[in-house]
Amino acid sequence: MSPVIKIHPMEDFKARSRAVLNDAGQQRNFRGAMDFLQAKRRAQFPDREELEGLRDLGAAIRRYSLAHLPRLLEQLEANLTAKGVQVHWAQTPDEANAIALAIAQRVKARSVIKGKSMVSEEVEFNHAMQAAGIEAIESDMGEYIVQLAGEKPSHIIMPAIHKTKQDIARLFAKELPGVAYTEDVDALIQIGRRVLRHKFAEADIGLSGVNFAVAETGTLCLVENEGNGRMCTTVPRVHIAITGIEKVVEKLEHVPPLFSLLSRSATGQAVTTYFNLISGPRKPGEKDGPEEVHLILLDNGRTQAYADEELRATLQCIRCGACMNHCPVYARIGGHAYGTTYPGPIGAIISPHLLGLESTYPLAFASTLCGACGEVCPVRIPIPEILVRLRNEAQARPDTEEANLRGSGAARSVSGTAVWSVWAQVYGRLGLYRLASWFMSRGRALSPTEQGAWTRSRTPLVPAAKRLRDLLKDRKP
């Protein structure tokens, strides 16, 4: 087909997946981590009835919030603005980075200290800052490790889940001056703490994500354990929060059920160490906190998901990562293989809106549709159904009403379309089906031994010697 296919990440995705599958060490790491996270989550929900009720409530809150999204965004903006928070809107990653850069240049920032933010990964914030000569330092321990290694996070909650403590011990000893090799996890964390402590004090800007934005009060909620999120949002003179437009809820009382679902589903904790509610910059008389607080609201394809009633459910996500922790595909190939900011089942359904279906449709096919992701999702996103929908979109006839997304029809090929059109003809007409199946069973010796991807790890498919119809005929006395 077109040369576009040649540079298609589909091939990289398969190659990367195969590399991980052949790496026994990584297989062990991922299996161990997934078993651990699954058990922790299970222990948090001993009461099935409570879990299902809370999921119903969480889903209802997210659906309600999305149904009223434009109004809630305006309300959030008005309430934040009234409290002195500056609200910015960005359609693309470039726009979001340009907004942050303009703030950084105005305040003559030399460094930005970052709390955990997947949206900042999505817009490649660190690259944009570095290109402008501004240092961007990750302060979440997992993100810090990944940044030090020159990698990207492989999990949205536990960024360094692909690394063993030995990997990290080697990394610290190699990259940090004066640090000796140690596999002691407490010692490694204390090293990270020591290195980053003064980065907080020295940074001009703190960047954070947002877990929930509350429209009625104009409040940004942040969930964390390490205290780095609080550092980033309290110590530097300027705080910039960046989030997708879908994170808003209407009322403060909508937060407790979502917060409970998030902490329990993500890391199997009843509650995180910190829940940080920020409602404005430092007021006159207050002795700490940033003098400026900014919120960047990012679209980056979310409005495309929103435009479709079925795909809109994608935006219910609260980014807990439970779907990847329970995914048999993610557990085997890990996060890097996906090649997208968000890996796993949620990555497969959100990435097509961020990056276009043409470069991401293979992810929708890399699923057994076992349904585990949909079963654990705390806000009941029908992930398996959306995966099937995206497969259909990938095969859709472009420029027809079958095609609704950027990149719809990207998986369509002349040969594939021809095969399925013959299949439809044969299965749609009884006479033709009889004839075709007669030839298939009689000519079974001629079945090809090379059957593409199927025979790469399986024996070839051969039609039965006798058709069902023949077998039934034989049974007659």
């Binding site: 996890v185 907080f200 509650v271 160490t273 002795k287």
Partner: protein, 224 residues
């Protein structure tokens, strides 16, 4: 059109969902209320805090300063950061501890950031209330007890009046009327800072306090 207008226009152009009713959050929490008294709430709070390596001590409004000074001496603390002009700070000051230097958060952080990061051993703040369900302490930092007091020093003492413990976060928000006005920063804290980012191994003392010590103030002649 600005990015804002384009985004809002796109959202408004989307087909309206069959509008779901406002979720019944209060009804759900009411249905899951436990019938428990304050002692049971206190006990749930204590277990949840102890499960995340928090030291919890029972005391009274009169006895806590001496208890705190004992703990501080046992831990070898050199100094303790207090808010400016707080009643509990005054109580502690009246004890005239010999070996514990009392510091006060009297000036804006900009003028003494390095001292706070490098030289302060511990701090004491008052909790506004707490949550039995999750063991969360509710802090509303203000001009007198600023935000960084509960974050930067390696050890954080929290004084909590047990009569303020709520069943869950929803009750706390509702009964205290949070939606009518939140401070610049409100916080829930449960335990010292922690991380499991290295091979899922739990380690305490990530970027915030390494130790959290909670002083539960019971009524005089009560459970203490």
């Amino acid at each position: 059109m600005s990015a804002r207008d384009v985004i809002l226009a796109r959202l408004r152009a989307a087909p309206p969902a069959t509008l779901p009713a406002l979720p019944g959050v209060a009804a759900w929490f009411d249905a899951h209320q436990r019938n428990e008294d304050n002692a049971q709430r206190t006990s749930r709070l204590r277990s949840a805090l102890e499960a995340v390596k928090t030291e919890v001590h029972d005391t009274t409004a009169d006895a806590w300063p001496d208890l705190l000074l004992q703990i501080a001496a046992a831990k070898g603390l050199r100094n303790l950061l207090l808010g400016s002009d707080t009643p509990h700070g005054a109580l502690l000051q009246a004890r005239q501890a010999l070996n514990l230097q009392l510091l006060y958060y009297a000036k804006s952080i900009d003028s003494w950031r390095d001292v706070l990061f490098d030289e302060v051993d511990a701090s004491l703040t008052l909790a506004r209330s707490a949550i039995a369900e999750t063991g969360s302490l509710i802090l509303w930092p203000d001009a007198s007890e600023p935000r960084l007091m509960s974050l930067v020093p390696a050890l954080h003492f929290v004084l909590l009046d047990v009569s303020t413990i709520h069943a869950d976060l929803h009750s706390a928000m509702r009964d205290e009327g949070w939606s009518a006005g939140l401070p610049t920063n409100a916080l829930l804290v449960c335990g010292p800072s922690k991380t499991a980012d290295i091979q899922q191994t739990l380690a305490y003392g990530a970027h915030g306090p390494r130790e959290l010590v909670v002083l539960l103030c019971h009524p005089q002649g009560g459970a203490a």
